[in-house]
């Protein structure tokens, strides 16, 4: 694939105004699928199932099978709509989106078209640089996910040149909510960062609602990014492309930035943008052309005759509204003030995606400062080194226990790091690791004094210097004592005792 010509990002911004629109698909974690009582693979209890074992006749569209709406999926969708500040439709219905591709066995996807369950919302999004945006939401509608195809044969493993495809329908019928923004203006140079922050905010919202596992690498959360450019001073929007297959927060930012640079180079060269679907390639950091975008007309949408309208009662909507968690932006402001962090300290935590962990750690008894120090320090370093999420390494409760062991003087920072390694290695709670490995600080002054006296006796020249008031000479003795204690002593306390004993 030839790499497209790209214009320098700043130069592109000088000539053109970027406008984006984002579509985020959220897989709900209900126990069963949207229209069938089959187990839902987007729910953790059914992870790793064998192909084609999470399906019923409905998932395959077998003759005589009929869909029935999952009541909980509707409730989850309404909650999500409310959290996005949307109106909930007094009556909404399902529609068939007809297309012929084997990822769905029945040749249509059940979706919503003219009557989505939620519409007209807005979401407050805070960028990493502190800028706050209000992203307008056009609609959020319910639909079903499609099956997974594996293309076999062909040199590239991609679909071009494939000889045949294998289909696993486990994912067919997984409940999805598709959230569609209105065109987002004014992002300017922050546009790529805004796209990323928006997806991160949607992730925060669905996690706080508990309605999705929201793991992008598992496809629980997927983003399609529409990007268009218009020359400065022009009113009319430019032709857009829709980039799919953007499977991480970081990719969302990179893909939008790439499209801005690619389109700018084409437009500045007198070319035109083709309205098409493009595919993001994580490895090359580039997009490539996919199929030309179908017109909505080609999908021949029509009301789904097998399903009845969804008419949520006012009582249900009010009940779900009352149960909404605090919006992420409000929560961030509250936590920042509760914890007394500076802007920089708070952004450090928020940008590493550790707010939930930090909050739980503080709740479990650690000071905010200690919780921040551990999560953004040693734990982040270990997670980075082994390429896993910090939240998967250790529980907030264990971090809080570790911080308390340091506070109480049982552990020094150095010992605590060893204990942390033990906890991560699965040796138990911090206290259990301390006991098993014998890592607690020697707080028995008697044992320390014995070691100090011995060290002083073996280094008479140092003793003489200390007595002469050359206090810095004590370092050699402290080092010897720490070594004798196998590091399990508080260096500050040892220093105090050395100076005391030297005068004795």
């Amino acid at each position: 694939m030839a790499r497209a010509e790209l214009m320098d990002f700043d130069k592109a911004l000088e000539l053109f105004e970027p406008v984006i629109g984002l579509e985020v698909h959220v897989e709900l974690n209900t126990t069963t699928k949207m229209f069938s009582s089959a187990p839902n693979p987007a729910n953790s209890q059914f992870h790793g199932a064998e192909p084609n074992t999470l399906i019923t006749p409905v998932c395959l569209g077998l003759p005589g099978s009929l869909p029935v709406v999952n009541g909980d999926a509707v409730k989850y969708s309404i909650s999500l709509g409310l959290a996005l500040g949307c109106e909930i439709a007094p009556s909404s219905r399902f529609a068939r989106k007809n297309y012929f591709y084997p990822d769905l066995a029945k040749n249509y996807q059940i979706s919503q078209y003219d009557e989505p369950i939620a519409f007209d919302g807005e979401v407050e999004v805070e960028l990493e640089n502190g800028r706050v945006f209000t992203v307008p939401i056009e609609r959020a509608h319910m639909e079903e996910d499609a099956g997974k195809l594996t293309h076999v044969g062909g040199s590239t493993g991609r679909i071009q040149g494939a000889e045949y495809s294998l289909v696993d329908y486990n994912r067919a019928g997984v409940p999805l909510v598709e959230i569609v923004t209105r065109p987002i203006f004014g992002g300017e140079a922050d546009t790529p960062a805004l796209a990323k922050a928006y997806v991160a905010t949607i992730r925060d919202i669905v996690l706080s609602l508990g309605i999705s596992e929201a793991r992008m690498e598992r496809g629980n959360l997927r983003c399609d990014a529409n990007v268009s450019l218009r020359p400065r001073g022009q009113e009319k929007l430019g032709t857009r492309t829709e980039t799919k297959n953007v499977n991480s927060m970081r990719s969302v930012e990179r893909a939008v930035r790439y499209e801005i640079q690619r389109q700018a180079a084409i437009l500045a060269g007198g070319g035109t943008i083709t309205q098409e679907t493009r595919h993001w390639h994580e490895d090359t950091g580039a997009t490539s052309a996919g199929r030309p975008k179908s017109d909505a007309d080609d999908y021949r949408y029509f009301p789904e005759p097998d399903l009845l309208p969804v008419v949520p009662s006012k009582e249900l909507v009010d009940e779900l509204r009352a149960a909404l968690p605090e919006p992420p932006a409000v929560r961030r402001r509250r936590l920042k003030s509760d914890w007394g962090f500076t802007d920089l300290e708070f952004q450090d935590v928020a940008n590493s995606g550790l707010l939930i962990e930090l909050e739980a750690t503080v709740k479990a008894g650690a000071t905010p400062a200690a919780a921040r120090k551990w999560w953004t320090g040693e734990i982040a370093r270990l997670a980075n080194a082994s390429d896993v999420d910090a939240s998967d390494l250790v529980s907030p409760e264990h971090v809080a226990e570790l911080a308390q062991l340091v506070d109480s003087g049982t552990l020094t920072d150095r010992l605590a790091r060893q204990v942390l390694e033990g906890v991560i290695a699965g040796e138990g709670s911090p206290q259990q690791v301390v006991d098993a490995r014998g890592l607690a600080v020697v707080s028995d002054d008697g044992a320390l004094i014995a070691a100090i006296d011995e060290a002083l006796a073996s280094q008479p020249d140092v003793l003489a210097k200390i007595r002469d008031g050359k206090v810095q000479a004590a370092g050699a003795v402290i080092g010897a004592v720490m070594k004798a204690m196998q590091g399990k002593a508080d260096a500050a306390r040892v220093r105090e005792l050395v100076l005391e004993r030297a005068q004795a």
Binding site: T53, R93, F100, H151, S165, L166, D168, L308, P309
Partner: protein, 100 residues
């Protein structure tokens, strides 16, 4: 209502991934045209005070509890009707085009 054209039929066939000969297209254009005319007669009786109906039975809110049902298939059962399968999955011709 305008007549259905041979181009529209060819476009539909393409969307549905059905290969049609010119004769078949011509034949279907006539047949689909007749069906359209038959359906069109409904609009003659429809009046502005009758809202479009998407479902004949005036019911709403029919929901299912979120509980795994008894009709979950084994992979063998699921694949029983498949013309071809491989590795517990349905085997289909490679289709030029991309995922929706």
């Amino acid at each position: 209502m305008s007549e259905i054209t041979a181009e529209q039929v060819a476009h539909l066939a393409n969307l549905a991934r059905i290969a049609l000969t010119d004769e078949e297209i011509e034949h279907l254009t006539t047949e689909l045209g007749q069906i359209m005319h038959a359906v069109e007669q409904v609009s003659e009786v429809a009046t502005p005070d009758v809202p479009p109906t998407s479902h004949p039975i005036p019911m709403q809110n029919v929901f299912r509890d979120d509980v795994v049902g008894t009709t979950v298939l084994t992979a063998d059962e699921a694949l029983a009707g498949a013309p071809e399968s491989d590795d517990s999955r349905f085997k289909v011709s490679a289709i030029l085009g991309e995922e929706q």
